[in-house]
Symmetry: C2
Subunit: 209 residues, 2 copies
């Protein structure tokens, strides 16, 4: 699908893609201890994949939201050099409240969720900031030998040059989950649809149902 | 629909119910300054309604997530007296990061979103804790004369005796938005569906499409 073509995605298609990756993670016995949803785009896939990561007799996996926006998407003027590279944090993990469940993120399996890996800028920011935070906690608590596992789940990865990288070990160890890889199309997500019946028909015509 | 009957709801039905309330809010010229999503249930309706609260030329409304769970749903043993009344906070507002957008919540329009108003316990907790927080900020900053508006949006309100109340002025001034009121049925949300095609068919058969 070319750059200027619109790709319509139905809710049921999103649901099936979340299910696919949820099953993959469970099959690998890598159920996360916590899901970190990047708002707004990650909220819907995060909630859906949680259903497929459920294990009978286990509590729901806690979801924490982090708010990240690119300056360019906020309509805020930035340095032209840095356009697309600068990320605004609008919400961060709440370690205070997390402590009711965890002492920290140290040694845990953390699944970071967003809807799309476009330029990779936001995901890069999320992973590196979370890693930094865990390292600081490790030093503070003198628990340097407990490895923490970061994974990423996105519905769509756009096959295009990226502006930022993700950790090599994450990519190579199979902890980067893209339910599907697409061209550099214009992705029309259902939650942005004005007329959802019309949108669903367009998605069905493209097989994204 | 009786207590023991299952009510199946499709994603497109959820979308339409969010749209209905979004339009209602815009028609009243009461676009919120911030959306507070109660995780996990409120995440999907919060993201969808944001699309319908968008005004051309305006930035997206920021979403903050707060994590609230009833003790009983967590599988944690509590005092039997207090079962259903006790709420666990797993994440709270991040005022630090909010400050990039706001100085505080004082004087703002705040829309709290959850999927269902069942016993009303969680919503009561959310509103009263947020109100307390704003009052403390008002005292601290000596800004006692700026009224803050709290509204609630839920997809479904269950018509049943509630275990907790919401502020009288909110209910009477039309700031409690339930897209639809249902009996005390078992609500089957699409994000919990194992087989989404089958689920959608069942929802269609009940007219929830």
């Amino acid at each position: 699908m070319a750059n200027d073509e619109k790709m319509y995605i139905s809710y049921n298609n999103i649901h099936k893609l979340c299910k696919k990756v949820g099953y993959e993670i469970i099959a690998k016995d890598e159920r996360p201890d916590i899901i970190v949803a990047i708002t707004g785009g990650g909220m819907i896939p995060a909630r859906i994949i949680r259903s497929f990561l459920k294990v009978k007799g286990q509590k729901n996996i806690p979801i924490q939201a982090i708010g990240l926006s690119l300056y360019e998407d906020m309509g805020v003027h930035g340095d032209t050099e840095n356009i697309g590279k600068e990320v605004i944090r609008t919400q961060w993990l709440d370690f205070g409240s997390l402590e009711q469940h965890f002492d920290s993120l140290i040694g845990k399996k953390i699944l970071i969720v967003d809807e799309v890996d476009d330029t990779r800028t936001t995901l890069h920011y999320a992973v590196s900031e979370l890693q930094k935070e865990v390292e600081e906690q490790q030093k503070k608590l003198d628990r340097l030998d407990e490895p923490t596992q970061f994974s990423i789940f996105v519905i769509h990865n756009k096959d295009k040059p990226k502006k930022a990288e993700l950790p090599k070990e994450m990519m190579e160890s199979g902890h980067y989950y893209a339910a599907t890889t697409v061209g550099d199309s214009w992705l029309c997500y259902p939650w942005d649809a004005e007329d959802i019946d019309e949108h669903t028909k367009l998605a069905a015509a493209q097989g994204n149902i």
